[in-house]
């Protein structure tokens, strides 16, 4: 049974302004770790807040489990206090006037849980999150990472069926963020909660999620496993948003300079027919190989001659900037490149590594099979 269903959900903040969320269909399965990923202003936080009941819909319906919680056609709206969810805010939103213990047992007290049981629950969650020693302190006396744990504990203690997290790691420093990521994964396993997580950080999404939903301008772009999203982006937006350094895009114009593009188009039109509707090609930097000369290029690859115009070490790996025909292409290498800036080289890719997009930016599925076969040949 799916934990949460959004059906044709819409949200607008008044006529005139563009929809914050439009026609969103989303199914979140029980026990899933779902990540809503997208640039700021893409509607991911609005979506989360609609699930929580902190925003109401402008159209469509939301169901949690069996229960309709928000529906315009049914004239129904269930307030956030009755949805039995947990929500961790980006700002943590701890109550500054209450101690850590009172922050944590707030929900239990509201539910009139007997004292002994309450203390047992609080202690268990506090121990699990390693914040028991701060019991008597106030939020302002805690560091960001500790506050974060309290915010989590406060929600976990009432054992919500679904835990919503709104960019919870964005205010932490890099090391703490790594620790908390592992922590979240552990909590997901230990408490078995369905988690919906909002982030603009692709690495966070990749490392944590079982399913990623990529959003842009209020609409769902693609939903799939992290590998799906990275390896088979459904459109140009997903391809360009996910991946760092970003994917290289070769526009297929009439006056295309780049040889790789022309090669690939010739190759594809020969197999797909002249009306193949190829708009652009995408090449992930790590799939690009560099060879010193044309002879070193393996057969069956698409290749082009280029000048090395920059080598940027990033610690353990290198980004190589290649220029050919005025166009810049970025490749990554895990070993120090033997070339120097100014050298002429050949860069090449295997056909299977190519992402082909139609003129309106959608992934050209037909091309995938053709390219996969090319690799076999």
């Amino acid at each position: 049974m799916p934990a949460i269903i959004l059906e044709n959900a819409n949200k607008s903040y008044g006529a005139g302004s563009p929809n914050a969320v439009s026609n969103l269909d989303l199914e979140i399965a029980n026990g899933e770790f779902m990540c809503l990923l997208g640039p700021s202003g893409c509607g991911k936080t609005t979506t989360l807040r609609m699930i929580a009941g902190l925003e109401n819909l402008s159209g469509g319906e939301i169901r949690i489990g069996e229960r309709v919680v928000d529906s315009i056609s049914k004239g129904l709206f269930v307030g956030p206090e009755k949805r039995e969810l947990g929500l961790v805010f980006q700002s943590y939103a701890l109550w500054p006037h209450l101690t850590i213990e009172r922050n944590t047992d707030f929900g239990l007290r509201l539910r009139k849980v007997p004292k002994a049981e309450r203390e047992a629950l609080v202690t268990r969650v506090m121990k699990a999150l390693d914040i028991e020693k701060y019991r008597g302190r106030y939020p302002s006396q805690l560091s960001g990472g500790q506050q974060q744990r309290v915010a989590l504990a406060r929600m976990l203690v009432v054992n919500p069926g679904v835990l919503l997290l709104d960019e919870p790691l964005s205010n932490l420093d890099a090391r703490l963020r790594l620790e908390m990521r592992a922590e979240l994964k552990r909590i997901h396993a230990e408490f078995g909660t369905t988690i919906v997580f909002v982030t603009h950080d692709q690495w966070e999404a990749m490392t944590l999620a079982t399913t990623i939903a990529v959003m842009n301008e209020g609409t769902l772009q693609q939903m799939g496993t992290p590998n799906d999203i990275y390896d088979r982006p459904a459109n140009r937006f997903v391809a360009e948003f996910v991946g760092s350094p970003p994917i290289n895009i070769f526009e297929i114009g009439d006056a295309s300079h780049d040889v790789v593009g022309r090669h690939a188009v010739t190759f594809l039109t020969a197999r797909l027919g002249p009306d193949a509707d190829i708009g652009s090609l995408g090449l992930r930097p790590e799939t690009i190989q560099i060879a010193g000369s044309a002879d070193a290029v393996p057969g069956g690859s698409f290749a082009d001659e280029a000048v090395v115009t920059g080598i940027l070490p990033t610690g353990g790996s290198w980004i190589v900037e290649l220029t050919s025909g005025g166009k810049k292409t970025f490749a990554t290498a895990n070993e120090a490149p033997r070339q120097k800036v100014g050298d002429t080289v050949w860069f090449h890719v295997r056909p299977a590594a190519l992402h082909v997009f139609s003129r309106d930016g959608q992934r050209l599925e037909r091309a995938d099979d053709v390219l996969a076969q090319a690799a076999v040949q």
Partner: protein, 622 residues
């Protein structure tokens, strides 16, 4: 296999049907029902509606009422206007603007108001900018001390200084105890003792702190990298001051100017004390006279004119603020404060600041104090000093036969002040927080806008005009409401309305600062509206609530213009009590009461600052 095949399409089609029902946008009745449900799910909107109704009654209705008085025939004027009571007339407009008495009623007071305001602004700006610069950007001695000390004039009621002035410069034009100058054998001419010159000077000294605070804080935030860039390019100090600093400071300065103008417009006490003896009227006193002589229609016209000028001023201010955003000079690390070296000018500069302090705080307060412990003015022999005016009894006077501290009238007035102003401030503080809550939280945006605008309205209306409006509305029974004039209720209601702009501002900004998160977090873990109020919002906002009550309380204690219109002897508060004493020429007693008020206002402000850790600049204008 077959059943599976048969079931699948049906399920598919069933799903399709459901979707087909969901997709066409629901009927508007559905939408309305949904929206109502969302809006009324929590009491916020209902409370907001009640608050809006209350404010409409407390604020909008009085203003409309006095404006209507200006154009309808008033009781007793039927013969003069040759029309029935209540019918429309231009009689009052023409009487105030074009009749032979118009010069006395309106034009001369308007000219006087503008002259006084212009003079006060000029002096305040010159003195204030100089002081602000000395405090913020130089190595003058005792800068920290001056930074606080020179703000003190603003904490005291303006007419404290008017009374000090009369104590010093009063001449034979007016009866009663002679002024010090007169007693020392020098008879001050009328122009020095009363009217434009002293009013202008006193208002200038009273409002100079505006310039010091606003200009000073702009100077402090000034990014000195901008200055350094000019210096690197070879600009001298004069060129930098003229071409870089001054243009960037213009918005802050203009803002202070507009604020002072708006305050001068409604200033009553100073003009009343110093203008009356030589019939020097400003708009506020002219309005007071019209009310006093029962010319309600003309009062309506003058009040309307004051409001109009007030509104225009505020609009100009709003425009300037928008302009000011074009140059944001808040620098990150650039805002280092590198004081200019004054060199040999260090002592003269300190002397100047000390002089301003002496003129605006030291001399007036000392004069007032000395006048209450001396039998005969300006006689410094030991036998002339007495505490009789404070704590004496069986004094050989016609009335006021006890010292002021032993007079039951004082304690009655003090008691009235405390409970009337206290109750009103508590109400407006609470209403302010409620307004803030509704404005920030209600899903019904138009309601938020209405509340914001309506609570701000009294700001556009100087207190004296507002009091006139209350008088016009509540002097007679209307509908179910009995005549309120003479009761303390009218004072409380008028005070609440008058304080709403600050109270609602404070409430809105407090709620904005709190943000939604803490409350939403409580909502998510299952707290309903009441639980959230009780456990989260009110405990967190305790501090702002205190400020929201204390600051209006202090400004209410020293406020005069509202009370002077609406109070009667049985509802005397300290300010009107001291005015009555001034009218009866009990100089010592009046001065003593004013000193008491000044002390309460000053220590109250300090306490409020300590307690709430707020800066005076924030309470500016209240």
């Amino acid at each position: 296999m077959t059943t599976g095949n048969a079931v699948a399409p049906r399920r598919e089609s069933g799903r399709q049907v459901a979707r087909a029902n969901a997709i066409p946008s629901p009927a508007w009745t559905c939408r309305l029902r949904y929206r109502l449900r969302v809006a009324l799910r929590e009491p916020t909107t209902i409370i907001g509606l009640f608050a809006a109704l209350l404010f409409a009654y407390l604020i909008v209705v009085p203003v409309v009422s006095i404006l209507r008085d200006a154009v309808t025939v008033q009781f007793g004027d039927e013969r003069r206007t040759a029309a029935e009571v209540g019918s429309l007339t231009t009689y009052y407009l023409s009487r105030a603007f074009t009749s032979p008495v118009a010069a006395n009623l309106f034009w001369q007071p308007l000219r006087n108001t503008l002259m006084v305001a212009a003079g006060a602004i000029g002096i305040a700006v010159v003195v204030g900018t100089a002081i602000a610069w000395l405090i913020c950007r130089t190595d003058m001695f005792a800068r920290q001390w001056f930074a606080t000390a020179l703000i003190v004039p603003y904490m005291l009621p303006a007419w404290t200084f008017a009374l000090a002035w009369t104590t010093l410069f009063k001449n034979r034009t007016v009866g009663g105890q002679a002024g010090w100058m007169e007693s020392l054998g020098f008879s001050p001419p009328d122009w020095l003792a009363y009217g434009q010159v002293p009013i202008t000077l006193i208002l200038a000294l009273h409002y100079a702190p505006f310039v010091i605070l606003l200009f000073g804080s702009a100077l402090r935030r000034f990014d000195s990298q901008l200055e350094d860039s000019a210096r690197v390019l070879g600009a001298g100090r004069g060129a930098i001051a003229l071409k870089i600093i001054l243009p960037l400071m213009r918005p802050a300065l203009m803002s202070a100017v507009v604020l002072i103008f708006a305050k001068c417009l409604g200033e009553f006490g100073v003009a009343y004390v110093l203008g009356l003896p030589v019939k020097y009227d400003v708009l506020a006193t002219s309005l007071y006279r019209s009310i006093g002589s029962r010319q309600t229609g003309v009062a309506g016209v003058i009040a309307g004119a004051i409001m109009l000028i007030g509104i225009i001023t505020i609009l100009i201010d709003a425009y300037l603020v928008r302009e000011a955003q074009r140059f944001v000079t808040v620098g990150g690390k650039g805002a280092m404060n590198r004081p200019a070296r004054l060199g040999i000018w260090r002592w003269p500069a300190t002397g100047f600041a000390a002089g301003v302090y002496a003129a605006s705080v030291g001399v007036p307060l000392l004069t007032l104090f000395l006048s209450t412990v001396m039998r005969v003015p300006a006689d410094f022999s030991w036998s002339n000093f007495t505490l009789d005016y404070w704590i004496g009894w069986n004094l050989p006077t016609v009335a006021m036969r006890t010292g002021i501290l032993l007079s039951p009238d004082l304690w009655q007035a003090a008691f009235n002040t405390l409970w009337i102003v206290g109750l009103a401030s508590t109400c407006s503080g609470l209403l302010g927080i409620i307004t803030g809550y509704v404005v920030v939280r209600t899903p019904v945006r138009p309601l938020a806008a209405v509340l914001r605008q309506v609570t701000f309205m009294p700001y556009l209306v100087p207190g004296i005009a507002f009091a006139a409006a209350y008088l016009s509305l509540f002097a007679v029974p209307r509908g179910p409401i009995p005549a309120l004039y003479g009761t303390s209720l009218i004072l409380i209601l008028a005070l609440i309305a008058d304080q709403m702009p600050y109270a609602s501002r404070a409430g809105i900004s407090a709620m904005m600062q709190l943000g939604r998160d803490p409350e939403e977090a409580a909502q998510v873990v299952g707290a309903g509206w009441l639980a959230r109020m009780r456990l989260v919002v009110v405990p967190i906002q305790k501090g702002s609530l205190m400020t929201g009550i204390l600051l209006p309380f202090i400004s209410g204690i020293k406020g005069l213009s509202l009370f002077v219109m609406l109070a009667v002897p049985s509802t005397d508060v300290l300010t009107t009590f001291s005015m009555r004493l001034v009218d009866y020429h009990y100089t010592q007693a009046a001065n003593a009461v004013v000193l008491i008020i000044a002390a309460i206002a000053y220590f109250g402000t300090l306490a409020a600052q300590k307690l709430t850790k707020t800066n005076l600049a924030e309470g500016l204008g209240s």
